[in-house]
Symmetry: C2
Subunit: 341 residues, 2 copies
DNA sequence: TAGGGAGATGAAAAGGATTACCATAAAAGA
DNA sequence: TCTTTTATGGTAATCCTTTTCATCTCCCTA
């Protein structure tokens, strides 16, 4: 019942441990052969013996010697958040492709908690980190970069960190797209609800909205309301009530949770979409099904987010490269929720 | 810039590596002293030096030597599922208390995928596993137990596995509670929608419902509809339409996702709760806010689920004990959705 | 024919912490 | 005073793999 080690395989196959190690770590090249200095027949024999004996590499020993753990950490703000939960799956799948094990840890949109999680994963010697930065999280992230651990920023940008990779959305464009869609359909009194959070994605979406309003001479109607993640359910009722009473025609909801909360209230209140209020939401949501008309929304390329993040991180780890930045384009899914009469 | 090892600490503190190791691994006893054969002053000096030098244990080395990784795996069916997402946080927090790092991997309610994830975490040499078994997942789970890796079953029971720990809900009781609540309020035509999944939690909830119906002489009205996780949004419309047309008075929804899907459709269809259809849901949901009346639902003690699972697993790891079983009690949160007229 | 290069293989040295076991000194008991 | 504990500390083996470097054979070229 004792563990099968590389030595057992070597003895059984009649070769040295070096050979076994070479074979076990060899990548398969395009031509189908193993990429290692071992003859094909020897390699085959080693493989056969390893399988027969049920050899499993001891990751601790491998990691001790190589200094690598083949483990990456993913730090979303909240794994139970729809956007990150979906992303997590793509990240997991892509990581397996490269042979990485994935460690998850939520930061709770909280810089101190991010620091804790960061300490934990660094103590674990992860090979790289994918992180959605929270407001005030620079210091925590710098801990990793200072140690030379590759970092990829996800979903949100952060200033003054160099050498990190980035996968973010063209958030200004998202704000523009939504606003222009409203305007194209003849709306003027367009407002927006956002979070007070000082994170780039939200700020940029607001900028996109504001600039577009201005560009179309609608500065007078420009207004961005703010709430917090914790109090959104309550605040949004007041905000929407107020909007309706002031005759606001359209509302842009720049995140999944804001869309869900707002539409929930709109439905509860019995407001008609788009007659009483035109709507553009964010991300896909079950909630849209509540309405007889389809709900227009901005879609983020979730799969690209996840896969690019892993690809960039892998490149940084493998080639000690400095991180690339990728800006992904949002898509507008049209819907009846923006039709004027 | 080189890594600080235990040897550096030992030299700097003027003691042997053994001492340092003892001190670093010592638990703090109740009386506040360290539980190790080292004098208090020496221990203090070691601690001070370790901190000053910035010593961090190398987990790979520790794990190689001790055979333990201080890592546990958590395998829910779907981490983006509300119930498991919430649980994950409790598990994470409790695990940190014991110094465990947590590895997550979703099984997708799929036995083959569970096998893959299981292989991955076993290759990783985790110290223990918390898993929500999927239908047909015995074999995958037995892989772990055969290797002597402690396993705790979460949320669902599974037959014929011995030595495993369990944390499950009294699912029959949940079914009974809901059904009796309806009956107490004068309903007779009570039906239930469930998944075709062959998992214990659902089956038991159905049993609880059926037995209660029978006990009250309502066997003639007893009916359980079935759908699948993938097609629920579509199926549920047909089922509910059918129920309404047949004059069914009340409906019990035994999972979070069923509650969400059903209530979404009920709202969309403009059905009145409880006039057209009385409802008892499962778990807490944002959706309940859609209704002017409060929605009665069964609540699972999520925190207890998570913490007990970790506690039991920890006990199994630490004391090589055989797994305990815990059955948690559901709570009925009353609401206007079960009031007759 | 000597020299060089390529291909295949092996020996042995890390890598850092844990831990079984041994050693010493001080305290306690006889 | 001498022996036995007890408290404290050290030595060295061990965990398993990766990786550097050396070796050896064979073949090709100048």
């Amino acid at each position: 019942m004792k563990r099968i080690t590389i030595k057992d395989v070597a003895k059984e196959a009649g070769v040295s441990v070096t050979l076994v190690s070479f074979v076990m770590n060899a990548k398969v090249r395009e031509d189908g052969r193993l990429d290692c200095p071992v003859s094909a027949e020897t390699a085959e024999k080693v493989l056969e013996v390893a399988k027969r004996l049920g050899y499993k590499r001891n990751p601790a020993a491998a990691s001790l010697r190589s200094g690598r753990t083949n483990t990456i950490a993913v730090i979303p703000t909240d794994i139970s958040n729809k956007f990150f939960a979906g992303l997590a799956r793509y990240i997991e799948d892509r990581s397996n492709l490269y042979g990485y094990t994935v460690l998850f840890g939520s930061s709770d949109e909280n810089a101190a908690k991010l620091g804790d999680v960061m300490d934990a994963v660094l103590a674990y010697n992860v090979d790289g980190i994918i992180v959605a930065p929270v407001a005030g999280g620079e210091k925590a992230i710098r801990k990793a970069t200072d140690l030379g651990v590759p970092v990829v920023l996800l979903d949100r940008d952060i200033e003054g960190l160099d050498g990190v990779g980035k996968v973010i959305l063209d958030d200004q464009e998202a704000g523009r797209m939504a606003t222009e869609e409203f305007i194209r359909h003849g709306f003027k009194k367009i407002e927006m609800i956002s979070y007070t959070l000082a994170i780039s994605s939200l700020k940029e979406r607001e900028v996109g909205y504001s600039q577009t309003m201005e560009a179309h001479g609608l500065s007078d109607f420009r207004k961005v309301h703010h709430t917090t993640y914790e109090t959104v359910d309550h605040d949004i009722e007041i905000i929407i009530q107020d909007m309706v009473s002031r005759g606001v025609e359209a509302i842009f909801l720049p995140t999944y949770s804001l869309s869900a909360a707002a539409l929930m209230f709109i439905k509860k209140k019995g407001l008609q979409v788009p007659q009483d209020l035109a709507v553009i939401g964010f991300d896909k949501s079950q909630i849209y099904r509540l309405f007889s008309t389809s709900v227009a929304h901005i879609l983020q390329p979730q799969k690209e987010f996840g896969e690019n993040a892993v690809d960039i991180l892998h490149d940084m780890i493998e080639n000690k490269s400095t991180g690339r930045s990728i800006v992904l384009k949002p898509t507008l899914i049209p819907g009846g929720s923006v039709l004027k009469d």
